[in-house]
């Protein structure tokens, strides 16, 4: 169905075609229909102009996190970028994620993220844990479980994007994961030293771009990164607080040493 506000409208998409080393932008004219998103336009190009255009996609419902790209310079899911947000005469520039190496056209190699993930100590409950959990204790963690791993936050983070600290900095996605584990009422592992010395949470300077681009509206900075930074402060930068805690009976922080080995979970009956 044509766009009722402007029947016959055609949008011009400038799409990156090529690899990391060699490529160029190609322009395509695409008819705009009501409710159309950028991913629809990319599919139109595949079907009508160039079936070899590479794009990763799956659900088209902003839930699989596959179609991440940069539309007019802003990281976004193509399936969530409506065509009616652009001016009628505006060229729409579609590029692959900048932070991860291009494989072909709009497809990038995000496997570095999975390598980082491997090093995070997984959920580690006590063997004799009481598995009764109240909603108020699990609510904070549930927000972090909404993450669809689109890696838009990793892409927009200037520490990874511009400063290339992929050797040292875990990025917002994995701080969200660690927050979900550290704040879990049954988790017993301590990942604070890992956060400080391996994940280098200190590299984050709270500029909140990760929160701005998150398609799941996770408050990454306020609810995950900053609370983690405060926990790192508790442990490493607040001698007075630590002294008082020790005086009052010691830290209640968990004691299981951080390890990336999976822990077997057998809930007690």
């Amino acid at each position: 169905m044509p766009d009722p506000t402007n029947p016959g409208r055609q949008a011009t998409l400038k799409v990156y075609r090529g690899t990391k080393e060699k490529g160029e932008f190609q322009s395509y004219k695409v008819p705009v229909e009501a409710g159309m998103v950028v991913l629809d336009a990319i599919h139109y190009i595949q079907q009508n102009f160039d079936p070899e255009l590479a794009v990763r996609w799956n659900c088209k419902a902003a839930k699989c996190g596959s179609c991440s790209a940069e539309v007019n310079g802003m990281p976004s899911l193509m399936c969530k970028s409506r065509m009616d947000q652009f001016k009628h005469d505006e060229d729409i520039c579609v590029q692959p994620l900048k932070t991860f190496p291009i494989i072909k056209d709009l497809v990038t190699d995000v496997s570095w993220n999975y390598e980082v993930n491997k090093k995070i100590t997984p959920f580690s409950p006590s063997p004799d844990a009481d598995w009764t959990i109240y909603q108020e204790d699990i609510e904070r963690v549930q927000e972090f479980r909404k993450c669809i791993e689109c890696f838009l936050c990793q892409n927009v983070c200037h520490v990874l994007r511009d400063h290339e600290r992929k050797d040292n900095f875990m990025g917002p996605r994995f701080m969200v994961r660690v927050a979900g584990l550290e704040m879990h009422p049954l988790d017993e592992a301590n990942r604070l030293k890992y956060l400080k010395d391996e994940g280098h949470i200190g590299y984050c300077n709270i500029t909140k771009c990760c929160t701005e681009v998150c398609p799941e509206d996770i408050h990454i900075t306020d609810n995950a990164i900053i609370p983690l930074k405060e926990r790192v402060v508790d442990e490493f930068y607040d001698p007075l607080g630590k002294f008082i805690r020790n005086l009052l009976g010691g830290s209640k922080k968990k004691t299981i040493a951080a390890t990336a080995q999976p822990v077997s979970i057998t809930p007690s009956k």
Binding site: N72, F100, I102, R161, H200, C204
Partner: protein
């Protein structure tokens, strides 16, 4: 610095960001991304110049029961030997509280340091970046200590406001009193919505309602919920309280010149 073992990938297998031909220049954004950081830099600079002018002025800050927030508490009588304006004995507290505040960090890293000025705008590149991991920005971790100092100063501002209601044995009310109370409300919303406060009152806990903790942590949960409500609008509290401090001070300055400007109601 500790050698990171973030991944098992060897150095030469680490991915690098895309550059030409897919990307060129600092950004591909077409919108006016520079407006917000420029506006923030302008307002911060204007506030900084005004507050320095007022601190150095060392005059027109107290009339009758009204005392400027830049000079409160007035320590002049306690340290007569101090060669500079007494404002300098106080201003370092709100300054350090705001300078280490998680919201203001975002604002000035973008506006002044351009790290980055806006999302996907890469003005500076290179692996030398260490953020808040090393000196001087590692000092941002002392934000909670700045909070501890800021709370008594805020309480004194509340006392100042109440002092304008009851003095000389009678109750009084003026427009300036209302402005001073509004300033205290906005400063309280900002101070008690602070991320460090949110952590201290309960955010540090993993489990508020575990059977073994229930009695002990219920108040912590309620406090954490309350602070979270303020924290959700921390940016708005930060800006409105910054403006209210400047407006209250300016109002008191002009009231010092012309006391009728307090607009006494009774």
């Amino acid at each position: 610095m500790t050698q990171s073992q973030l991944t098992d990938l060897p150095e030469n297998k680490l991915p690098t960001s895309n550059a030409l031909p897919a990307y060129e220049g600092p950004t591909e954004r077409k919108d006016n991304w520079w407006v917000e950081p420029a506006l923030i830099a302008f307002v911060f600079t204007a506030f900084g110049i005004y507050s320095m002018f007022r601190a150095f002025e060392n005059n027109l800050y107290e009339v009758g029961p009204y005392l400027s927030p830049f000079y409160s508490p007035n320590l002049k009588q306690y340290v007569p030997w101090f060669p500079l304006s007494p404002a300098f004995l106080i201003l370092w507290i709100p300054l350090s509280f705001r300078a280490t505040c998680y919201y203001y960090r975002k604002a000035y890293y973008r506006s002044y340091f351009m790290h980055p000025p806006a999302c996907t705008v890469g003005m500076f590149k290179g692996k030398g970046y260490t953020g808040e991991q090393s000196f001087p920005f590692v000092l941002q971790n002392l934000h909670r200590y700045a909070f501890y100092f800021a709370v008594p100063v805020l309480l004194i501002l509340w006392v100042d406001a109440f002092n304008t209601v009851y003095y000389e044995g009678a109750f009084h009310m003026s427009v300036l009193t209302v402005v001073m109370f509004a300033n205290c409300v906005l400063l309280s919303g900002y101070t008690f919505g602070c991320h460090a406060c949110r952590h201290i009152v309960g955010g540090k806990e993993d489990c508020f309602s575990c059977p073994k903790n229930e009695q002990k942590l219920k108040p912590a949960f309620q406090a954490w919920q309350l602070v979270t409500k303020f924290n959700e609008r921390h940016q708005q509290w930060a800006w409105t309280s910054l403006m209210s401090v400047a407006i209250t001070d300016l109002y008191i300055r002009y009231t010092c010149v012309n006391p009728s400007l307090a607009f006494q109601i009774f």
